[in-house]
Amino acid sequence: MKELLGILDGNTFMLSDSRGDVDPSPDYPAGLFAWDTRFLSKWVLTIDGERLHALSTDDLQYFESRFFLVPGEPTHYVDAKTSVIRHRSLGGAFEERLTVLNHRDEPVVLTLRMEIDSDFADVFDAREARSLPGRAAKFVEPGRLRLCHQRDRHVSETIVTSTEPAEFDTDGLTFRIELDAHANWSTTIRAIGTIQGAGGRDVRENLHGYEQVRPEKQRELREWLGRAPKLTCDSETLEDAYRRSLIDLAALQYTGLTSQVRLLATGLPWYMTVFGRHSLITGFQTLPFMPEIARNALWVLALLQGGRIDDFRDEEPGKILHEIRYGEPGGFEDTPYTTYYGTADATPLFVVLLDEYERWTGDADTVRLMEYEARSALRWLDTYGNLMDDGYVWYECRSPGGLENQGWKDSWNAISYSDGRLPGKPRASCELQGYAYDAKMRAARLARRFWNDPAYADQLEREAADLRTRFNRDFWMPDRGYYALALDAEGGQVDALASNMGHLLWSGIVEESRAGQVADHLLSRPLFSGWGVRTLADDQAWYNPIGYHTGAIWPWDNSIIALGLRRYGFAEQAARLAVTMVEASRYFGGRMPEAFAGYDRRLTKYPVQYPRACSPHCSSAGTPLMLLRTLLGLRPHHDHLTIDPAIPEALGRIELIGIPGRWGRTDAFGRGRVSLDPE
Amino acid sequence: MDPTTEFFEGLNHRPPDPLLGRIRGTVRFELESDTDVDTWLLVLSAGSVSATQTDRAADCTVRTDRDYFNRIAAGEANPFAALLRNRVTVQGKLTLYSYLNHLVPGPPGAHEPRDWVRQRGQR
C-alpha cells in the first residue's frame, strides 16, 4: 500500500506519492481534484531524465506542503550534488514552487522536466478507470500548456504556466538550467482547473473567495482557531486531537457551487462533497464550538430539499438530500449524484439539528424561516418514509445507480440477520425510528415556541409517544436482551447485534428499564473491541474486523453512542468510550480516520488502519469535540449552559474556555474523578 | 626447523609479557599432517609462557593442519580470520585462543608507519 500525501482546500485536493509525484494508480485517486473532477492525472518531476526521491516531507498546513528531494535513490555512500525543494500550495489554483540547489563547487547544466497529463476523470472513474465519452485535446500555446476535455457544451480545462521561461510540449514542460557553484534556481508552476459556465467563464468565478492566496488562508485559519473555545487539559493527546479537529474542519470547508453557502466536504479523497447525513451529524457535534457549521448545513439542505418524486434520484417531496456531485457523469445523468436523495436518516436528522441549533444559539429567526422545510420533512416521515403504512420509517432503493441500504451503514451487506442472511426490502433499521421519534419530540417544542401551533405540537407528541411504545414492542428481543437491527418487509426482526442501538440511547426512544442491558451490550465484547464499539459484533455471521460496516469501528458512531450513554446516566460507560477514542486518536497523529479495524485490542498494540479510510473525515473530526461535550456534560438549559462533568482520571483536568451560545461565551471546568479499570 | 617448531621453541625464551600478566591457562594444539598429529601444550601463567610437546588435555584445544599453522606461526595467516573460516577449530575457552594474537608475529615485511611515509618515493 503506497504512502500518499494530500493537501486540501475545501473540495479541492492534491494527492501525490511521498516525493510529490502523481502517477495514475487504479486503486487510489492520485492527482489534482476539484469539484469531483481530476485536473491533473500525471505530475512527475525529473532531473536529467531521472526520478527524484524524498529525504523528507513537511506538511506545513492543510493547504500547503513541502518536499525535500534528491535525484536517484538516496544512499549514504554517495552525497547528492543537487537537491530540489518542492513547495506546493492550494488556494483555488494549484501552485508548486520548485527550487533547485546546486551543492557542487562548480557550475552545472541541468534539464528539469515536469511530465503532465490530465484525464479529467470523475473521482469514481478514477476508481474504475472507465474512459469518458467526449473529446480530449492538448494545446501548446505561448507561455502555457492547455489540456482540455469537451463533451457537448461541457468543457473542462487545465492550464499550466510557469514564472520562469520553459519549453512547453503536449506532455509537459522542460527547463534547461545553468547553475553556478552553490547557486539556486526557482520557478513557480501554476495549474488552474476551469469548468466552463455562462459565457465560457469559469462557473466558480461567481463564488466569493474562490481564488485565494496563501497569506489570506493563513489569516483565515488563525481567525477560525481564534473563534473556537480554548481547551487546556492534562492530556496532551486530547489537546492534539482537539486542535487537529479544528484545523481539519477548517480544511474541509468550501463554498457550494450552486448554493453559495460555506459547506463541509465529507472525507478525503472519496467524499469531497456535501453529504446530508454527515453535514447534519458534524453540525450537531460541533455546535458547542462552531455553531456556524450547523447553520450552514441547515441552510444548504433546506435549499436542496426534495420537491418532487424522481425515481432516478430516489427523490421525494420533503426528503433531505444524501449527496451532491459536481462531476461530469452526474451532469450527463450517467449517475444520479448531482443531487441524490437515497437516504432515510437525513430527513429526521434535519429536524433534530434545527432544534438543537436553537437550544444552543437561541437563533429563533432561522427556526421560523425554516418552518416550511421542517414541516415538509416531518410530513415525509409519515408519508414517503412510511412505506409500509405501519408508522415506521422504511427505505427501498428505486434508482438504478442508487444505494442498497439507505441508513448510515449503506454498504450492501451492512443489514443482516445474525446468521448472515440478508433481509428482503423494504427495510426499517432501528436507528431511523429513533431519529424519527426524536425529530417529533423536538419539533413539538419548536411548534409550541416558534410556530405558535400548539395543536400541531400536541399531535407530534402523541405520535412520538405512540411510536416509542410500538418500537419497544416490535424491535425489542427479550431473549437476546437487545434491540433488533431492523425489521424486514414481513415485520420480522433482523436480529444481528450491531452498534446501531447506541443511537437509540441518543434519541431517547429506549425504555429506561432496558437501557442498562443496551449499555452492557455496547461496552462489552463481542461488540466492544477495547478500542471502541464495533459496527457489528464479532460473533455475527458477517463480522469482519476490516469490514466497512460489518466490524470496523467508526469514531463518529462512537461519539453518538457516548452522548446517548450519558443521556441515560451511564456516565462511567461514556467516559470509558471517550478514553478509548482519545487513546486511539494518538496513533493517527490526533486525526481520527473515517474508520479503523475492529481487531480485539488484546491482539493489537495500535488500532489497525482500515484500508484506504477517508482521512480527514468531517464527522471523525467532529468526534473529539462531541466527546468533550459528553465528558463535561454540557447542556443548554434555557439561557444557561449547565455543566455536569464525568471525566475519567486518566484524562485529568479539562478546561474549555469561551464556549459560544445564547449566553454569549462561558467556560466549563472538570476534573478526572471517574476511575476506570484499565482496558 | 619449520616455522611451527621455531615459533613454539621461541616462546620459551621470550621475556615475560606484561600484557599476558593476568592470564592463566593451558592451550593444546593438535596439528594434523597426512601421517600423524603432533601436539603442543602451551602454558600461560602470570606473563610467562612455556611450550612443550606434552600430550595432555587443556582448557582450550586448537585443531588445524600443520601446513596451515606454519603460515600462522610465520605471520602469513591471521588466527582470527582462520577461526571464522573454520580452518582452525577451537574447543574450550575461546578467550585463551585470542591471546595467540599476542604471540604470533605480524606479516613478514609489514611497514613501520614512519618508514611507510618516508619510502613514499620508492613506491
Binding site: 461541457h154 450552486t258 453559495q260 418532487r308 425515481d311 432516478f312 409500509m388 | -
Partner: protein, 135 residues
Amino acid sequence: MADPTAEFFARVEQRGPDLLPTKARGTLRFDLRRDGEVDHWFVAINRGNVLVSHELRDADCVVATDKALFDRCALGEAQVVAAYNRNDVTVQGNLPLLLMFRRAFPSPPGTRDPRERIRERFAGRGRERERERQR
C-alpha cells in the same frame, strides 16, 4: 400541439403557494433560445405567490438555455441542476433562487408514488399487521 413550457408557467402561477416555500421571494428570468429568437419568461415570487410575464426585465437570477431543453424540464424529463452541471443551462446572478424554484418542476412522466408499488407488492400487509398488534 401544446407548449409544455407555457403550461408549466401557467401551472406554477396557479399552484405557486403549494409548490414553493412560504418565505420564497425574488425574481427569475428564463431566456429560452429557439431558432434564432429568444423567449423571455419573467417570474416574480413573493411569499410563494407567483406572477409570470414575458417582460424583459432585470431579475435576481437569469437562466439561459434552449427552449427544447426547457420543454423537457417542464415535462419533468430533464433536471435543471444536472443540465446546469453539464453547461446546457447557464445562470447569472442568484443561483440559490433557481434551486428554490427547482421545486416547481414536475416529476418525470409516468412517475408513481413509491408507496403504491409497495402496497401492490405487500397488499397493505404492514397496516394489517399493525391493526392485529393493536388488538
